[in-house]
């Protein structure tokens, strides 16, 4: 395991360099925006990675919340399975297909919906018990990092193209900002909470955040129809060569995100090991001032 990390890091570095080369040299110049559009090869993959990480956090939080009682755990499994099956089948119905936004193929939506139970069971299997919470804090923190990059590169892209840094009606950038705010508050709660149930509280906050996201999207969507504003991230279809570079760039950043998450995961496990060691020490009464944050010893940090 320990040798795997440097090897994967090396491979990821090569992949990122290759993606950079593709983005700057190989990809064709945009007819309207010129060379500046190439920001998209960093902006969009970061956004997709951040959303994926927050999605994993949401799944892990729900699993952590329901894992405390066997009845809720079983019920949740059936609900998730139901969502996947019903959603996938619904995409085959013509009435539902008319409701889908233009440009989204029903098969793509069905596959995405099926990913929900797939992720749920995969995460539940790979990260048993308390590791769910470690996964939650890992994906939240790394997700915030990638989300920050989206919010920084977005305005940098908007300024030369549209002449403005920010438009409140830009649905994607504003939704991303709200998501960033929610997860920063999640991380602040984790740091500032003295409760023994911090993990549960944080999981509850993650669920609230996930419930909020569609509402944010719709509220801004309607706001836009009343106050038409430029779409900063660019819309519409893409030249297939550009799409090709975009996907490779995303693959590179996904590998990078995986390695960062792996490191953060190990850091969190080490952190808990140190806390347990401190707790054992204070229990054994060694006379050393205990620095644990557990309620066993309420010394200030």
């Amino acid at each position: 395991m320990k040798r795997l990390f440097p090897i994967l890091s090396g491979l990821t570095a090569i992949l990122l360099a290759y993606a950079l080369y593709l983005a700057l040299v190989v990809a064709p110049t945009d007819a309207q925006q010129g060379e500046v559009y190439r920001i998209i090869y960093y902006h969009v993959p970061s956004a997709w990675t951040a959303f994926l990480l927050f999605f994993i956090n949401f799944i892990a939080s729900i699993q952590y919340l329901v894992s405390k009682k066997a009845s809720t755990q079983a019920a949740a499994k059936w609900v998730v399975l139901g969502i996947g099956v019903v959603g996938a089948v619904a995409c085959l119905l013509p009435q539902v297909q008319t409701l889908l936004p233009a440009g989204m193929r029903p098969s793509a939506v069905a596959t995405t919906v099926l990913l929900i139970p797939l992720f749920y069971f995969l995460i539940g299997w790979l990260f048993p018990g308390d590791r769910l919470d470690v996964l939650a804090v890992t994906t939240a923190e790394v997700g915030v990092v990638f989300c920050t990059i989206v919010l920084v590169t977005g305005p940098i892209w908007a300024r030369p193209v549209w002449g403005i840094w920010w438009a409140p009606g830009d649905i994607r950038l504003t939704s991303t900002l709200v998501l960033w705010l929610i997860y920063v508050s999640y991380l602040v709660l984790r740091r500032f909470s003295n409760s023994a149930q911090t993990q549960m509280l944080a999981a509850a906050l993650a669920v609230f955040g996930a419930l909020d996201v569609p509402l944010v999207y719709f509220s801004i969507w309607f706001f836009r129809t009343q106050h038409p504003q430029p779409v900063i991230g660019g819309g519409g279809s893409m030249d297939p060569r550009m799409l090709h570079v975009l996907l490779i760039s995303w693959m590179a950043f996904l590998c990078f995100a995986f390695l960062v998450c792996w490191s953060r995961f190990r850091l969190e496990l080490l952190h808990r090991e140190v806390e347990d060691a401190h707790a054992l020490e204070s229990l054994a009464g060694e006379g050393v001032a205990a620095k644990t944050s557990l309620p066993l010893n309420r010394s200030p940090r």
Partner: protein
Amino acid sequence: MTISRTEAAKPPANSLWAVTLATLVKDIRLEWRSKDALNSMLFFSLLVVVIFSFSFDPLAEESRHIVGGLIWVAFLFAAVVALNQTWARELRNQVLDAYRVSPAPANALFLAKALGNFIFVSVLEALMTPLFVIFYNLRVLGPAWQLIPVALLGTWALVVNGTFFAAMSVRTRSRELMLPLLLFPISIPAVLGMVAATTSILTGEDSAHFYIVLLLTYDVVFTTACLALFNMILHAE
């Protein structure tokens, strides 16, 4: 010991609504005697109104577009003042611990607190609205009656999540800072709805219908979520 028929006909003393009502009446009575929260809220809102009244010319027609946002910012900050002291009283005399041990349902406490806050903030809004009309020379160009569902739904949206997050913040350092930090991001769609709806009604330019439906959806979703998860929050150590 025999029980009279009228006694047997009463709902059990620890049913959801009985406890909710009892706790709510207690909170209102306590607040009426001290008027702590109400006074702080009123003064705070007044300050916000006066300070903002310097920022633009109230005679201009454009001011009607901004006032919706200003009003709700003032109410939002005032609501945070009220929410911050929601649980403080319970903590002081170990009332919260007593409640946790009692057989009363947790949701009754939550509903009582949320309804209490709702009443306090609504009273504040009712008192402040004439002041806003005076300071900003407001004339409502759209259907004025629609402001009532907007105010009711919007206030409940702030108060229901606020009460929940106030309970969450009780066990954190910097408790008073934690509450707005948690509440504001989650409340963004509701605040957008309130502000946009109020602006639409004041200017009469657009229909507030969508935003009222949005606020209603928000209220239903988050009231359900709060009721489902409050039991866990109450028993957090």
